[in-house]
């Protein structure tokens, strides 16, 4: 029993261990930020690597907690993302007075996500969702001297309280309609009565809120803009990735009997999300808002893959999230490095960046190419598999809309690339001094963007896990 406990919950235990370690360090003598950061980077890397060992299938606590190889891999993707964040934003983290607290909050949120992905009942899901949300709201407020940061934090906590209220309402309705909160028992009880549909919609909006699906997305841009860039990137990559993973389980397994209902809903919301995300991204001048809207559009694409309702659907979404971790974090990393040193966040400020900073210009270009889905970057393969998965239902109208949106998105991604490489600027951003670990993070992201697409066994591996 204890063995099971230790092995099945190993990821959660490791994270908890790190959190406690940080607490002790904080309460005790403390450490210099620089060395503590190195220690944490090491621990997070070790955690990522350890994620590949001793993965077993099983469940604990009477089915509240379940895990298998695919879930372990999903956790590894999230761990990788957190590791990359600790690398990319080293400069910012190092300068923060409260770095240990920041990591405690971020790792608590990560712990919440781990439990969420593994959750086997609505109760567990709700608790872990809250655990993954509330620390992030506190993180959002981490630029303590900036008003905009506090405002963003307020907006986030209010909006998510609202969303949680509706979720809780949905859970109670669902319990009333089916008599169970266990994911394993629920499918048998679903008959598609109006009450169940209402409950499902309430539940679904919680996912939609966290994923910034239109029309539940309005908090996104404000929060991304106000939050420190490290937090924006955490929200847009790690948070979204974890929700996409649990959404797969919820829709494919728990609500499988209501397939027709949720398929229509996903298609409808996907179209709305892609279009609105793209339209807003077009007009943004601030790079963080720009990335916020582009990430909304990307979520629209994830929904295309989810609509596939097949093994290909699952593996394409997991594959895409992996690529998205590399691409979006690289873009945020560049924006963060520039903002940290110069305070410039407008796309117009990026004009002529290539003249002074060729390395980060190339990293940014790779990231944006990948986000736009231009071959041979990994983003192309990711989008290709998502669309292939979505197309398996034969809904060609939907696929055409997705493809058209892909073309529109090209325009605004290339706009940034044009500013960086082609536009002349009398006073381009000066030479940015990158922290060595930031540079390492960018190189890992760049390598990931190139290699994950070209090495076909990555996708095969994910497919093998899915089956």
């Amino acid at each position: 029993m204890l063995n099971d406990f230790l092995i099945l919950m190993k990821s959660e235990l490791v994270i908890t261990f790190i959190i406690f370690l940080l607490l002790f360090i904080k309460v005790g003598k403390g450490m210099k930020n620089e060395s503590l950061l190195s220690l944490l980077q090491f621990l997070l890397l070790a955690n990522f690597i350890a994620g590949f060992f001793f993965n077993e299938t099983g469940s604990l606590f009477g089915g509240l907690f379940t895990t298998n190889a695919l879930i372990a891999f999903q956790k590894s993707i999230l761990s990788l993302g957190v590791y990359l964040i600790s690398l990319l934003f080293a400069d910012w983290l190092k300068k923060s007075e409260h770095m240990p607290e920041f990591f405690i909050l971020m790792l608590s949120a990560l712990l919440g996500m781990f439990f969420m992905i593994s959750s086997g009942s609505l109760l567990m899901f709700f608790l872990s969702l809250e655990l993954s949300t509330i620390p992030v709201a506190a993180m959002t407020n981490f630029d303590l001297e900036k008003k905009i940061s506090s405002e963003a934090s307020m907006k986030m906590i209010l909006s998510s309280a609202f969303s949680s209220g509706i979720l809780l309402f949905g859970i109670s309705l669902m319990y009333g309609a089916t008599g169970t909160i266990s994911f394993a028992e629920m499918p048998a009880m679903l008959d598609g009565s109006p009450l169940q549909i209402l409950a499902f919609i309430f539940l679904f909006t919680a996912f939609a809120f966290k994923l910034s699906i239109v029309p539940f997305h309005l908090w996104t841009a404000d929060v991304y803009e106000g939050a420190p860039i490290a937090v924006s990137s955490f929200l847009s990559v790690i948070s979204k990735g974890s929700i996409a993973f649990i959404l797969l389980t919820a829709l494919y397994k728990v609500f499988a009997p209501m397939h027709e209902l949720w398929y229509n809903m996903v298609v409808l919301l996907s179209i709305a999300t892609m279009i609105i995300g793209n339209l807003f991204a077009l007009r943004q001048q601030n790079i963080k808002r720009f990335l916020a809207y582009s990430s909304i559009a990307q979520v629209g694409f994830i929904l295309v893959g989810i609509s596939g309702n097949s093994i290909a659907g699952t593996s394409s979404v997991v594959y895409f999230v992996l690529i998205y971790v590399f691409s979006n974090l690289a873009a945020f990393g560049v924006a963060g490095a520039i903002s940290q040193q110069t305070g410039k966040e407008r796309i117009n400020d990026y004009k002529g960046l290539y003249q002074t900073n060729p390395f980060i210009s190339w990293v940014l270009a790779l990231a944006l190419f990948s986000l736009a889905g231009i071959p041979p970057t990994a983003g192309f393969f990711g989008k290709l598999f998502l669309i292939t998965a979505g197309a398996s239902n034969g809904n060609y109208f939907f696929i055409t809309v997705a493809a058209l949106n892909l073309i529109v998105s090209l325009y605004y991604y290339l706009r940034v690339i044009r500013a960086v490489f082609m536009d002349k600027n009398e006073q381009p951003i000066e030479k940015i001094n990158l922290h060595p670990s930031t540079k390492l993070g960018m190189i890992i992201c760049g390598a990931g963007i190139v290699l994950v697409g070209l090495l076909s066994w990555v996708y095969d591996y994910i497919t093998a896990l899915t089956m």
Partner: protein, 664 residues
Amino acid sequence: MNDFLQIPMLQVLPFGKDIGWALLLIPLLPLAGFLLLGLFGRKHIKNSSGIIGTSLLLVSTVLSLYTAYGYFFEYGKVNGVYQKLIPLQYTWLQFSPGLSIDMGIILDPISVMMLVVVSFISLMVHIYSLAYMKGEDRFPTYYAFLGLFTFSMLGLVMASNIFQMYIFWELVGISSFLLIGYYYDRPSAVAACKKAFIVTRFADLGFLIGILILSFYAGTLDFNTLIQRLTSSSAPEFQTAVASSFLGVSALTWALVLVFIGGAGKSAMFPLHVWLPDAMEGPTPVSALIHAATMVVAGVFLVARLFPVFSMSPPALQVVSYVGVISALFAAVIACTQTDIKRVLAYSTISQIGFMMFSLGVSGSGGENGLGFTASMFHLFTHAMFKALLFLGAGAVIHFIHSNEMKDMGGLRKYLPITHITFLIACLAISGVPPFAGFFSKEEILLAAYHHNAIIYWIALITSGLTAFYMFRLYFSIFWNKEAPSPLERAGGEVHGEGGFAMMMPLVLLAVGAAVAGFIPFGNFVSSDGKLLESAFHLQFSIAPVALGLAGIFAAMWLYKKQNNKPDAIAASLNGFYKAAYHKFYMDELYLFITKKILFNLIGRPAAWFDKNVVDGMVNMTGNTTQAISEKIKGFQSGKVQQYAIYFLAGVIGLAVLFIYIWK
């Protein structure tokens, strides 16, 4: 983690010994050179870049020779038949359970032979360039490009799969483009590299369509499986490919002809040959490597690779033979009139590749009938030696004289003794004078043609006479003719010797090859069916070609050994024909007419109009509409949290109403 380890990255077939990794190194070392020199060459290792590139290639060459020895003498032969071995295979892109693009290495007699030829000639050129390109500003870039080319060419010959071959085929094209345009500050070089790229790309389109048709009918891209399925007349794939037809020609023939168009583009066959003479704008060692010995024979190699399939379609083979023989004659005639020594060699290359092509075209498959196949590969092998030698010799001459024009040369045998002797050996070899290498390979080609098709035989015979004539015209014009002015008197005043050891050693090595390569019993190693092919030697058959060759040599001697006005007189008497040949039969003008007058006016302009007004118009409209809508809806994003909550609630209620009441 266990799952990671189970993924079969590379399957190494059992051989008794593991040669897979050594094989992989053969192309990867030049690639490493390319990356190393391309990334760091200009800043950090400028002076040693030549040595680095050359040493990497030396290792590659040794590995190639080792592989060749192992294949031909140790493990390649099973029961007297050379096997097609696939020591490495990696599934790269899996489309469906049946169709995937693989990356693999194939070992069979022709690929092993090409490995040796490519790495050896490339090594010679690398060494030669150490002296020839010394002092160039972009010296590391040059070696980087050479590395890229060698990598691509080695990848091409080892490709186990037609799509993989296509990838390397394009890579070869790109490295050729880069090297032709190496002197990018010369407008003529820029024009030449564009021309080469566009013409070959155009031909590659045919290749690509051919690949698609072939793989559609065969259901595979893998060479071995494809050949198996398309050569047994009982296979269903073969029957559909033959049964379905377009314009009265079977799909199989169409596919093969399209593939051949790709090959003809790369191998500069008539009428796609126009890029090759211009490609001489590149540095001379590059011409020796790419535009004489290796890349331009890729087309021949392609046809040879697919030869079993070609032999199932007589019409396709007919196309190959006639295109080959016409190119051979046509280019030989032009070569007699050119005055730029590199252009003479370029046309001579086209002519010789024509020989290889028609030799494949007249070949049958298996046994005695397969003589043409063996002969073609044999000629490819010997030609690589003596043509590279000719180009490198011409390079030494140009290095000395600083001009490409014959009229600036003459009497150089005194100043360039080693170049003179090696050049003479190469000329004798290409002219088919026994016992030099070209004699043996050309005899086999003529013999194959003689048994198969009388017209082709006679054209080929005349062409081989012409070959001797123009080669010795070149030789006498450079090394005899008028007395050379003393080096000190020459304008410029800079005196070089022959270019030192680095330039002379490749010449001597290649000259040895050109002299004795003919004695290799080639039929023992390379034949259409992998079995041993006895090459019989017929004395009486050799009389005619040798006599014609000697006649050509004596005619050239009579005309060009001493300075006189006989050549001009003959040119004058052949006025119209001479002029036409001198202007390369106006092929370039014809192309210009077709592209400028017809394509641009009839297709390009209307297409441009359509693009500007209709396509761009629609795109602009989409953009404008998007902007306008985006302007309209920006009000939603007010920044007020209460409003966000309202929209949130509206969304929930909207979905509930929609899915509970309306869209059930």
